[in-house]
């Protein structure tokens, strides 16, 4: 589904603006696309109000379970909604509708229904917001058959994947990362620029170790690769991009080159994305592995408010470097 841009034009775009632009372009392209969310205007969407009105931009009262279900109902009957759940910790309120309705309706009805819907949620963490605002819930939903889940880490991937998600006829859960909002890079201006769901991306080639990066860990993973380069260790960094379905092919190809894997994931260690990637790589790449698989994750503890306690929790460049060295 990835298409080379028709024109070669690119322009600098932040991660946050990539989200807004992707939505705007898809709403212009297809009148069935609508946006549902709380305070759409405040949290990045104000530019949309220049082009669209309240018919397709629905500012909702605080009622996550039902406005999510409402989006699903609209998806079942001719629209292609984007439901913005704002802060990822709020996604639990919507979980019943996402899991028991969106993910299951097509299958349970033997294919009579399709659910072309996108759920967006942004992880906020490491900013002293305490436990109820700071979750990274990707693993929770990975266990639900029927969902596609993406976690883009660059502006180009954010734009391309969100557009691909909107055009996909199935329910897609898009996890954004607030710490990446101001990251800037050249992004194609082609309105049909898409990034395929289900394809990981080698962000940096290498020979000695594979570093698999999940979601917002990418900058730390790349920084770690730089540090390692300075010590003569060549690290290949794979940005997973799609969590479900997993791009096993790309992962195993890299493992074939390096034989060693460190997985970096900012979700809590128990049952993390890293756990699943680790299981798949060891099951299918056991003969190629030359050392145990290492996971660099957030420990299984509630997120504390005080920066003194919170800051050390998330994967850091130092911890990734140390993990790599421990298996060389």
């Amino acid at each position: 589904m990835s298409s080379p841009p028709k024109s070669a034009t690119v322009r600098e775009l932040t991660y946050l603006n990539a989200i807004v632009e992707a939505q705007r372009e898809e709403m212009l392209r297809d009148e069935r696309v609508i946006l549902i969310g709380e305070n759409i205007d405040i949290y990045g969407g104000s530019a949309l109000f220049d082009t669209f009105d309240e018919r397709r931009l629905r500012n909702v009262p605080i009622s996550e379970n039902s406005f999510t279900g409402m989006g699903i109902g609209a998806a079942l009957t001719g629209l292609r909604p984007i439901v913005d759940l704002t802060i990822a910790s709020f996604v639990y309120l919507a979980a019943d509708q996402i899991i028991n309705q969106a993910a299951k309706l097509r299958y349970m009805t033997g294919g009579q229904l399709s659910v072309p819907i996108v759920f967006r949620a942004c992880t906020y963490y490491n900013i002293c917001n305490a436990a109820q605002h700071s979750d990274r819930p990707y693993p929770f939903f990975m266990n639900v058959p029927g969902l596609k889940i993406v976690a883009p880490a660059t502006p180009a991937d954010m734009k391309g994947l969100l557009k691909a998600a909107v055009r996909d006829d199935d329910p897609v859960l898009v996890f954004e990362d607030m710490s990446l909002w101001t990251k800037k890079e050249p992004v194609s201006t082609d309105p049909d620029f898409l990034v395929p769901i289900g394809k990981a991306d080698v962000k940096r080639g290498g020979r000695d170790v594979t570093i698999v990066s999940i979601a917002g860990c990418l900058p730390k993973a790349l920084a770690a690769a730089d540090v390692l380069q300075g010590e003569g260790i060549s690290a290949e960094v794979i940005d997973l991009r799609t969590l479900v379905p997993l791009d096993t092919e790309t992962l195993l190809e890299s493992l074939g080159k390096t034989g060693r894997v460190v997985i970096v994931d900012n979700s809590h260690r128990t049952g993390s994305v890293a756990s699943e990637v680790s299981a798949v790589m060891s099951e299918e790449g056991f003969e190629i592995l030359r050392a145990p698989i290492r996971r660099v994750t957030t420990p299984a503890v509630q997120i504390p408010y005080s920066a003194a306690l919170e800051k050390p929790l998330y994967p850091s460049t130092e911890r990734i470097v140390a993990a790599v060295k421990s298996i060389l």
């Binding site: 069935r32 629905r58 629209l79 009805t109």
Partner: protein, 337 residues
């Protein structure tokens, strides 16, 4: 609303109404017999609730949407679905309406407008609200009708969805089949205030109570609500006080006597919606022989549906991943178990 102002059923529609009610009753009775004989497992019967279901369905067009509940059989039948794929679905056959993947609690027939029969109580209420949102965004004059029970009225989705529908005047009819008990819990023991329709005012929409055993009354009230919705007048909450003749689900043993045998007997003998409507039709001058003809037709239809179901093949286990996605990626997703 005086009787003369209320929308009336034409003769044709009356016959159609009776036919559909009888279909529901005979389908449910036959399905129960088959389930008790072990031919498939379990079901939640709608016997006793036919007038509430059919009266509402007949006020809708073919292109209107419905959502329903785990007590799902009556809804597609009430909306005019073919019985064969429904029965085949109960048997878990490949020819079932959901290809054997949904079963008794999820008899969703999209061709007659059903977009979900949710087994999560209250789960269909936001979906119906969303269908109404879709209608409003697309600018058509369709409506969406949401069936749910007395139990669902306490679920958070009820409060949230009624509010959403009210703020945007969405064309949705919230239709409560209040059969007085959620499994074995009576409304008085679960509702702080016993009249569900009275909750509507708190959200800013009208609420109406109807006798759910009286088809004409249900039809009239629903037709009024549907008319309002089509003209952009917004949602309505209809509470149909009805009754179910069977237990919550087949075979359920309830150790406490939550309802008296006398109450059950009274409904079966004096408040049976089929008997009541039959009488009404005779009173309108419809001949006994015509009514009997409908009853014979339906009996044959149900028997045919059972034959069809029993003779249909089971789904192929190798096809278990079919219908997971509209657009599968890396398909099939995993090695076969």
């Amino acid at each position: 609303m005086t009787p003369s102002q209320a929308p009336q059923l034409t003769r044709e529609l009356s016959l159609q109404a009776y036919r559909r009610m009888v279909r529901i009753r005979r389908f449910e009775e036959e399905a129960m017999r088959r389930a008790m004989a072990g031919e498939f497992s379990g079901m939640h019967s709608s016997s006793g609730q036919e007038a509430a279901i059919v009266g509402a369905c007949l006020a809708l067009r073919d292109d209107d949407y419905i959502t329903g509940t785990h007590r799902s059989h009556g809804h597609p039948i009430g909306k005019g679905a073919d019985l064969k794929p429904l029965m085949a679905e109960l048997y878990g056959k490949a020819t079932g309406i959901c290809k054997g993947r949904g079963g008794s609690m999820h008899l969703a027939d999209r061709k007659v407008g059903i977009i979900g029969e949710s087994a999560i109580v209250g789960g269909g209420i936001p979906l119906a609200t969303g269908a109404a949102l879709s209608i409003q965004v697309r600018g058509t004059d369709q409506v969406s009708l949401c069936f749910f029970g007395d139990g669902a009225a306490n679920q958070g989705t009820f409060g949230e969805s009624l509010n959403l529908a009210a703020i945007w005047k969405l064309p949705v009819i919230f239709f409560c089949e209040n059969n007085l008990y959620a499994i074995s819990t009576p409304v008085a023991k679960s509702h702080g205030q016993p009249d569900i329709a009275l909750r509507a005012a708190g959200f800013g929409l009208p609420g109406v109570i109807v006798d759910g055993q009286d088809l004409a009354e249900v039809y009239a009230a629903t037709a009024v609500a549907v008319g309002r919705a089509r003209k952009g007048g917004g949602p309505t909450l209809i509470e149909a006080k009805t009754y179910r003749f069977e237990e919550h689900c087949l075979g359920l043993q309830v150790p406490i006597a939550y309802r008296t045998p006398q109450e059950l007997e009274r409904y079966k003998s004096q408040r049976d919606p089929l008997v009541l409507y039959r009488k009404e039709m005779l009173g309108r001058g419809i001949a006994e022989v015509e009514i009997g003809g409908i009853e014979r037709d339906v009996a044959a239809e149900v028997a045919d549906a059972v034959t069809f179901a029993r003779q249909s093949p089971l789904p192929d286990p190798d096809e278990v991943y079919d219908y997971l996605f509209s657009n599968p990626i890396h398909y099939p997703p995993e090695p076969a178990p």
